[in-house]
Structures are given as structure tokens and as C-alpha cells.
């Protein structure tokens, strides 16, 4: 085997320029794919992280039918106290759950005593909310990173638009489920950076304040956001949980709860899917590049060395070894291309990270792109290139092994 490698490598070195060109072509392909996969993959992971960790959480549970009319923030679709308690018991016993946060979502009027506008609010338990959406605190660009009763976190657009500053007194006026109007004064404790996606421009108050303003005698919540310990097991856990919750029925015998992963709640999921499709096609192009370039160079190699093949066949070299000789040449080209592409791609990504390229995504500005090469991606790309190289050299190698020595020797 070592000798086959030795001869194959020397044959590759014999046509240095051609080998270099082929390897360069594969290298360029690998670099493109690696950089694209890493950048788009990191972008996707980062955006998913932003969306789930600053607002949505990984999974949300609502009363059945709530999500269909989520834009109205209907108070009459809240989870009833009994259902909420039941759900808390279930979620507390789940090992996969890292944290969960009940929210009361409602719309109201926001006034600074001079002007009035609309606002969407989340009533939350601050500690539980910050655990479930850990990036929420990083969105607080002004003020303290906590939330007490009587305090409100307002979106930056509202603060700018109405000239509301930190510690300013504001009033929230809202209508409760029965239609009566109520108001409460708050102090602005923090300004929230906007985020892309549903709920990205919501304000936050303490859940007890929400109950008070909505005149809610018992705790009714609009949704429960859940953060999982292992995000990669999202779908597996979601189906497990929905199975579990399907047994909870109302008086009409219909399921009480509905469960959604972030994918169903955020339009970014379609962009993420699009990135996956693009990645797939880029990989397909790499396969085509490797296949055609290796096949081309190996067909040439066999054609140029027909007399040599005739000689070694006449001497008695078994056809299998002749086949192996050419397949190893293709394999070596693939390995060289994969390795140099991997190294060069790594260097380019390193400089991309050093350059701290920032981009804007919707309202979020200056997000810094950190492109990480995942070992699995690198391995998958390398293995693909090598396997395709071997496949591409099989046909020419097979032809070489089937050459009749007498005809090959006669070839000029």
C-alpha cells in the first residue's frame, strides 16, 4: 500500500503544474464552502440565539387558540388559574427544562402626562424572565438590569419618540377583561433596545403590577416561555411535551394547551431555512467542482500513461493494483485539496473574526459576526471532497486496469 502511495504521489509531482491547478481549484471550492457554511451557520445560530434568548424562549405554551389571535393580545384567551397551576406542576418536574417564565401580555395606553401612545406590555416575574430569556438584560441599554414592582422597562423607540427618560414617571392605562378601564403610574427603570421578531418592541412590568392594573383576582397568564437545558434537543422535547400535555382536556373534552417552538413563532425561521437551502446548493457546487476537475485530470493521466500501464500490466501487475494506483492519485488530490482548503479557510475566517465585521439585522445594529468553524462541518466537507475524489477517479482507474497490455504497449 505504501508503495502504491509512493508511486501515486510521484506521478502527481511529475505534472506539478497540473496537480497544483487541480488542487487549487478544489482548495478554492473548499474555502468558499467552509467560509460560507461558517459565516451563514454562525449568523443563523446568532440570530436564533438573539430571538430565543432575548424574547421568545425556546418553547412557548398557550391556551389553545391563543397564537391564532396573538396580535390582539386577547385577555379572554389567557390560561385559567387552574390550568396554569397544573402546568407549573408539570414543568417543575421536567428535567429538560432549564427555566420557565409565565407572562401576562396585554396592550394599553402609555402616557408621559404630555403625550399618549399605544404600548404592548409583558407582565413578568423578573428573575424567572431573566433566566428564561438571558439576553433580555443585555438589551437594557440604559438603567439598571433589574425590574421591581412599580417600575417599567420601555422600548427605545418609545423613549426617543416621546422624549421619556430614565426615572420619568409614566402612566399605563388599560382595559381589563370586563371592559372597565384602569390606570397605574410607573417609574421608567430602563430603556430596552429593540429586537427583531415578535415582541421585539414590547415593554416589561412586574407580573403583580399587571394583575393589579388588569384587576385580576387570581393569576391568569397569557403564555409560558420555556428555556431548555439542551437547545439541540428542541424538537424532540417539544413533541414529548406536547404528547404529555395532550392528555389535559377541558370540559368539552378538547386539549387545553397548545405548544409552539420558536420556529413556529418567529418569521426568522424561514430565513434560517433559506440559509440551509443555500448551504446545500453551495455544497452541491463543490461536489461538482471536485468531480469534474478530478475526473478530467485522471482521464488525462490515464491517457498519457497508456504505455506505462501496458508495461506494468505486461510485467504482471494485477489489474486491482493498477486500479488502486489511479484511485490513490485521485484520493491524494482530494486530500491535498481538502487539507489546504481547510487551512486556508481557517485563516480567512480567523481574519474575518479579527476584523470584527458588524452587520445590522432589523432594528439591531452593530451585531458582530463571529464565524466559527464547527468541527463537524470541517469533517463533513473534507470527507465529501475525498469521497467524491475517489468516485471521480474510479472510472478512469477502471479503464486503466482493463487495458489490454498488448494494445497499451503499442500506443504511441
Amino acid at each position: 500500500m505504501n508503495n502504491l502511495f509512493k508511486i501515486a504521489i510521484r506521478n502527481l509531482l511529475r505534472y506539478k503544474r497540473r496537480t497544483l491547478l487541480t488542487v487549487s481549484l478544489i482548495t478554492i471550492g473548499v474555502v468558499f464552502v467552509l467560509v460560507f457554511v461558517s459565516v451563514s451557520g454562525s449568523f443563523k445560530a446568532m440570530m436564533i440565539g438573539q430571538i430565543t434568548d432575548s424574547m421568545l424562549g425556546h418553547v412557548q405554551i398557550h391556551r389553545r387558540g391563543y397564537v391564532a389571535s396573538i396580535d390582539n393580545l386577547p385577555l379572554n384567551m389567557n390560561l385559567k388559574p387552574q390550568a396554569f397551576k397544573k402546568l407549573e406542576v408539570i414543568l417543575n418536574s421536567q428535567r429538560a427544562v432549564d427555566a420557565f417564565s409565565p407572562r401576562i401580555k396585554f396592550g394599553g395606553m402609555f402616557s408621559n402626562f404630555v403625550e399618549t401612545t399605544n404600548i404592548r406590555l409583558n407582565g413578568v416575574y423578573p428573575d424567572r424572565e431573566f433566566k428564561t430569556a438571558p439576553l433580555l438584560t443585555s438589551r437594557i441599554i440604559e438603567g439598571k438590569k433589574t425590574l421591581e414592582k412599580g417600575e417599567i422597562l420601555i422600548p427605545v423607540l418609545l423613549s426617543r419618540g416621546m422624549g421619556v427618560k430614565l426615572n420619568d414617571p409614566v402612566v399605563i392605562v388599560t382595559t381589563n377583561q370586563d371592559g372597565s378601564v384602569n390606570g397605574k403610574q410607573f417609574r421608567v427603570s430602563g430603556i430596552l433596545e429593540s429586537a427583531t421578531g415578535p415582541g421585539g418592541r414590547d415593554g416589561y412590568i412586574h407580573i403583580e403590577d399587571a394583575r393589579e392594573i388588569l384587576r385580576m383576582p387570581e393569576m391568569e397568564v397569557s403564555e409560558i416561555a420555556i428555556r431548555l437545558k439542551d437547545f439541540s434537543k428542541l424538537n424532540q422535547y417539544a413533541s414529548q411535551l406536547s404528547h404529555l400535555l395532550a392528555t389535559e382536556l377541558n370540559k368539552q373534552g378538547k386539549p387545553i394547551f397548545e405548544i409552539h417552538t420558536w420556529e413556529k413563532l418567529s418569521p426568522f425561521y424561514n430565513i434560517a431555512r433559506m440559509i440551509d437551502v443555500m448551504t446545500f446548493f453551495i455544497k452541491l457546487m463543490l461536489i461538482a467542482i471536485v468531480l469534474i476537475s478530478i475526473m478530467n485530470v485522471m482521464i488525462m493521466a490515464v491517457y498519457e500513461r497508456i504505455r506505462e500501464i501496458g508495461t506494468i500490466a505486461a510485467i504482471g501487475t494485477p489489474p486491482g493494483k493498477i486500479l488502486a494506483l489511479f484511485v490513490i492519485e485521485g484520493f491524494s488530490l482530494g486530500v491535498l485539496g481538502a487539507v489546504s482548503g481547510g487551512v486556508l479557510g481557517g485563516i480567512i475566517l480567523y481574519f474575518l473574526n479579527v476584523a470584527k465585521i458588524s452587520f445590522n439585522f432589523g432594528q439591531q445594529q452593530g451585531l458582530i459576526l463571529t464565524a466559527n468553524v464547527r468541527a463537524a462541518d470541517l469533517l463533513a466537507i473534507s470527507v465529501t471532497v475525498i469521497v467524491v475524489s475517489v468516485i471521480a477517479s474510479l472510472q478512469p482507474a477502471f479503464k486503466a486496469s482493463r487495458l489490454e497490455p498488448i494494445e497499451a504497449l503499442r500506443h504511441v
Binding site: T311, I312, G316, L409
Partner: protein, 240 residues
């Protein structure tokens, strides 16, 4: 070496070979019969197109006869499969070509070693010993690390002789081994082949149309238009 002195090493009986060129059947050999004894030094002579190469290809298991019987080293070579004939060639035959046909990517040493590695799988120690022995015998030890494009034609043919003999074959076939050499070098190469025959008792069969070196053979078969016309004993100075 597996010598079979009781019978001929190569026995041809009414051997014929037809080729189809386009729609015309060309008879390259017809009804050729002969026997070659082990350790002999034989030459097939004749003008180009007389069937020398065809005959050598048949003996060398590179081609199959259209009719007749051909036994080489006790095997009916016409019945061998593609794979078996490769194995048979590797075990029993050595080849020397007109254009030397050394592998350009391998050094002199590696070219001689090639059949032991790729064809016969001989252990390293034995391999080194055999290669050294043959490189000494053909006088190419000093050039062992050179590549074929760094040595002369005569030297290349010496390396080719060493490569043909390294597997200890019973029979070495050489098709026009001196055609690309000047006459002085041609004599040296033929002498070397004869010397190797004497030392190793390997049978040598070579074809030539070069009248000057024909006399070096001990048994000469004349081929004319695909038929064996005369056979006569030639030089054989070194042969008892």
C-alpha cells in the same frame, strides 16, 4: 527456479494467429511449430511484419492464438483468464522492451525492485538482496539512485534486464531489445543477456531484424510471412 528439463519450456504446435484489420483478416502466423528447451538462447529473426512480435506476444501470454497449441512452462497459456495470465506472467516471465519502458517516476533501484513489490510480494530483506545482486550483475549499482532520464539508452536496457530477471523467471522475452541502441551498446546488451543466461540458467528469447547481432543467438528461427522457414544454429560462443 522451476526447470523442466524433461520437456520443452516452450512448445508450439501448429500455432496460428489471425488479426482483423477493418474487414480484412490478416494472417500473422500460420501453422508454426517449435520447441524451446530450458536455458537456451533463442532468436526469432525476420523482416518487419513477419510475425516476430506476434509470436513473442503469444509466448508472453499477452495475446491468444487463433489456432494451435502453445505450452509455456507447462501451462496451456491460451486457456488462462485475464487475471491468471497476469499472475502467470508475474511468476514465470520477464520482459525486455525495445523502448526500455522503465517507469520514469522510479529510480533505477526502484524500477528493478518494482516486480518484487507489486507483483510478487517478496519480503524486504530478500528484496534488497536480489536487487543488489542484479544491479551488481548488470553493472548499474553506482547509478541506482538515478532516474531513467538521467542515464543512457544502454544503461536503461541494463536496468530493464535486471528488472526482467529479478523475479527469477524461467523465461525472458525481449522484443527488439537492441533496436534503439548503437551497435557497440547492442553487443554489450546481448552479451549481458547471455551472461545472465549462463549464470541463472534463464531462457532468453529475443526478436531482432539486426543481422549483426543475430549471430549472437544459439538457436535462430527465421520467420517469413508468418511461417517458420528455417531454423539454424548460430553463434553460441559461450554455450557448451
Amino acid at each position: 527456479m522451476k526447470e523442466k528439463s524433461s520437456m520443452g519450456l516452450v512448445i508450439a504446435e501448429k500455432l496460428s494467429k489471425d488479426y482483423l484489420t477493418g474487414e480484412v483478416v490478416v494472417r500473422a502466423l500460420h501453422g508454426v511449430s517449435f520447441t524451446i528447451e530450458p536455458a537456451s538462447f533463442v532468436s526469432f529473426i525476420g523482416p518487419s511484419g513477419s510475425g516476430k512480435t506476434t509470436l513473442l506476444n503469444l509466448i508472453g501470454c499477452l495475446d491468444k492464438p487463433t489456432a494451435g497449441q502453445l505450452t509455456v512452462a507447462g501451462a496451456d497459456v491460451a486457456s488462462l483468464s485475464r487475471k491468471d495470465s497476469a499472475a502467470f506472467r508475474g511468476a514465470n516471465l520477464g520482459f525486455i522492451f525495445q523502448d526500455f519502458n522503465l517507469l520514469p517516476v522510479l529510480t533505477v533501484y526502484e524500477n528493478v525492485e518494482y516486480p518484487l513489490l507489486m507483483v510478487q510480494n517478496i519480503p524486504a530483506e530478500q528484496r534488497t538482496e536480489r536487487v543488489h545482486q542484479l544491479l551488481e550483475a548488470v553493472g548499474m549499482m553506482e547509478q541506482r539512485n538515478k532516474y531513467p532520464d538521467q542515464i543512457s539508452g544502454g544503461q536503461k536496457q541494463r536496468v530493464a534486464i535486471a528488472r526482467a530477471l529479478v523475479t527469477h523467471p524461467q523465461l525472458v522475452l525481449a522484443d527488439e531489445p537492441t533496436a534503439n541502441l548503437d551497435s557497440q551498446t547492442a553487443y554489450t546488451v546481448i552479451d549481458l543477456m547471455k551472461k545472465m543466461r549462463d549464470e541463472l540458467k534463464t531462457t532468453f528469447i529475443f526478436s531482432t531484424h539486426d543481422q549483426k547481432i543475430v549471430g549472437e543467438a544459439e538457436i535462430i528461427y527465421q520467420l517469413t510471412d508468418g511461417a517458420l522457414v528455417v531454423n539454424r544454429n548460430g553463434g553460441g560462443k559461450n554455450h557448451e
